[in-house]
């Protein structure tokens, strides 16, 4: 392969005065000056959060207003910084959702530990824990930064759900009971 020697041209007189470069620079900054600013006036204007944003982890309810979490504690075990602590609880026999085995008695996510990795959402078999669009989590004390169950449901709300898993389970159980198994 032939070697091509690139000529290293010395600076011209105009370039050595710096002045053309300075004028070019002034034009660049002028163009920037007449362009609209990109600043978002944060507390007044909020950024548009994309659908798949990984914000504060929350617990969600199904469209019937029932809690989806069955207290399997997979999220607690998978959580790399050990931010989640679940106290499993029983469901009363006469409750309408008695066919679900368990529900969390208490569900705490320590937001001082959470690293927003989303593994809890990924591991959840019930799609009960979701990292949603809330990005600004503040508190005046360490205790205030621990989200308890009530807070988690308040943050999470209801998400659309097409599976209706526990409805189907209940129907199935009733059908089987009806057929005498």
């Amino acid at each position: 392969m032939a070697i091509k020697v690139v000529e290293r041209r010395p600076l011209t007189l105009a370039e050595r005065t710096y002045l053309p470069q300075i004028f070019a620079g002034l034009k660049v900054t002028w163009d920037n000056m007449v362009r609209p600013p990109v600043t978002l006036q944060y507390p007044d204007e909020r950024p548009a959060i994309p659908q798949n944003y990984r914000g504060v982890p929350t617990l969600v309810m199904d469209p019937n207003g029932r809690e989806k979490c069955v207290s399997c504690q997979l999220c607690e075990f998978v959580c790399p910084p050990k931010a989640i602590r679940i106290t499993p609880g029983e469901i009363a026999d006469d409750a309408p959702n008695a066919h679900v085995e368990k529900a969390p008695k208490e569900f705490e996510i320590n937001m001082l530990r959470c690293i927003y990795c989303g593994l809890c959402q990924e591991v959840c078999p019930e799609e009960a824990i979701w990292l949603q669009s809330q990005y600004s989590m503040t508190g005046l004390s360490r205790e205030a930064m621990v989200n308890n169950k009530a807070k988690l449901y308040e943050l999470g709300g209801t998400l659309p759900d097409h599976h209706h898993k526990w409805d189907k389970k209940k129907e199935e159980a009733e059908r089987q009971a009806h057929e005498g198994h």
């Binding site: 620079g25 002034l26 900054t29 002028w30 920037n32 000056m33 362009r35 600013p37 990109v38 600043t39």
Partner: protein
């Protein structure tokens, strides 16, 4: 004793002098404050930001449209900045030479104020006689005194750097002094070129700025002396310690340069002094190269009434505003020169250029009369 006191207290001249001095200080502080605002706003625009737009006083905020405009434009910000400087704790470090440390900001600001007081920025006619509009009467003292006094400002920098008794201010001060010496020469030579052209031999006010503006009734000097104008402009940037020549300050390598050890209002005074020097440099450039209070080249002044005077003053201030903006614009465009580059540009480029330019005009006048 009593008659003397009586004279002092009742002589109107004293009150006039005091009022004039206060007016001067108020005007300079306001201009400096709003230059800072311009700096902050223009830098924000260049960087795609908005700049100060929150400061508001409740009383002004109630005014329907004006209040919003003043808030969004940041027009209350200078008051907030000044108040902040005023109410901050005025710390006096233990290791400084206290007397000179306190003296330094005063030495920096006083020459700037003195020159601004002498600066002519318009003309008016009264009973057939012509006067220059200025903050002192009979201000036509000539450019020599202005250069002499305004250059004294560097003593403030040198004193601050020495008295702070710390290495970064010291380096900044040494740089500032060296830079002033290097660029004063080229600046003086470029000014000489212009005065060579405008003042005839045997004239009474050979170095008068008013006469200089009169000589630019037709063509402005920048058209016939572009090289001198360029050298003068670059030297003004260097003398006012603005980017790309802000050697005494250079935050990135000298922390804060000569004012590293200063805080609160003493730092504010350095700030005001810097912006006052910007105003002085711009005003001198306008007076000597951009036709002073003439609106446009070859546009004769209309009449001699107060309207013409006002238009002249307005034209001067418009040019001044543009120049202040230009200073800011350049600052946020060009990176700082290295110290050896500054010295090289001053001694090996600008000085020979100014000398050659002067010689060329000498030869031209010698041949053409």
């Amino acid at each position: 004793m009593e008659p003397l006191l009586h004279d002092l207290l009742l002589s109107p001249a004293w009150y006039f002098a005091a009022a004039r001095g206060l007016t001067l200080i108020l005007i300079v502080m306001t201009i400096a404050g709003y230059s800072v605002l311009l700096e902050r706003k223009a830098s924000a625009w260049i960087q795609g930001r908005i700049g100060p737009n929150r400061t508001i006083h409740p009383l002004i905020g109630w005014i329907p449209f004006l209040g919003t405009f003043l808030q969004k434009g940041g027009f209350i910000q200078p008051a907030a900045d000044g108040g902040k400087f005023l109410f901050k704790e005025d710390a006096l470090p233990g290791h400084v030479r206290k007397f000179y440390y306190v003296l330094a900001p005063i030495v920096a600001l006083a020459p700037a104020l003195a020159v601004l007081a002498m600066l002519p920025f318009g003309e008016f006619f009264h009973e057939g006689k012509r006067y220059a509009v200025s903050l002192t009467q009979g201000a036509d003292v000539g450019v020599l005194l202005m250069f002499a006094v305004s250059s004294l400002g560097v003593y403030g920098i040198a004193l601050a750097g020495w008295s702070a008794n710390s290495k970064f201010p010291f380096l900044g001060a040494v740089r500032g002094a060296a830079q002033l010496i290097s660029y004063e020469l080229a600046m003086g030579l470029s000014v000489l070129t212009v005065f060579l052209a405008t003042s005839a031999p045997g004239q009474d006010h050979g170095l008068s700025l008013v006469a200089m503006v009169d000589a630019q009734d037709g063509a402005w000097n920048i058209l016939f002396h572009p090289v001198a104008a360029l050298v003068f402009l670059i030297c003004v940037f260097a003398e006012t310690n603005r980017h790309p020549f802000d050697m005494p300050e250079s935050e990135t390598d000298l922390v804060g340069g000569f004012h590293t050890e200063y805080g609160a209002f003493k730092f504010g005074i350095f700030f005001v002094a810097e912006y006052s020097h910007m105003v002085i440099g711009s005003a001198l450039f306008i007076l000597m190269f951009l036709g002073g209070w003439h609106v446009l080249p070859w546009l004769p002044t209309i009449g001699s009434g107060w309207v013409a005077s006002l238009i002249g003053v307005a034209a001067f201030f418009l040019k001044l505003c543009f120049f202040l903006f230009f200073f800011v614009w350049v600052r946020w465009t060009i990176p700082r020169f290295r110290y050896d580059q500054v010295m090289r540009i001053g001694w090996r480029v600008l000085l020979p250029l100014a000398v050659l330019n002067l010689l060329a005009y000498f030869v031209w006048y010698a041949i053409n009369g």
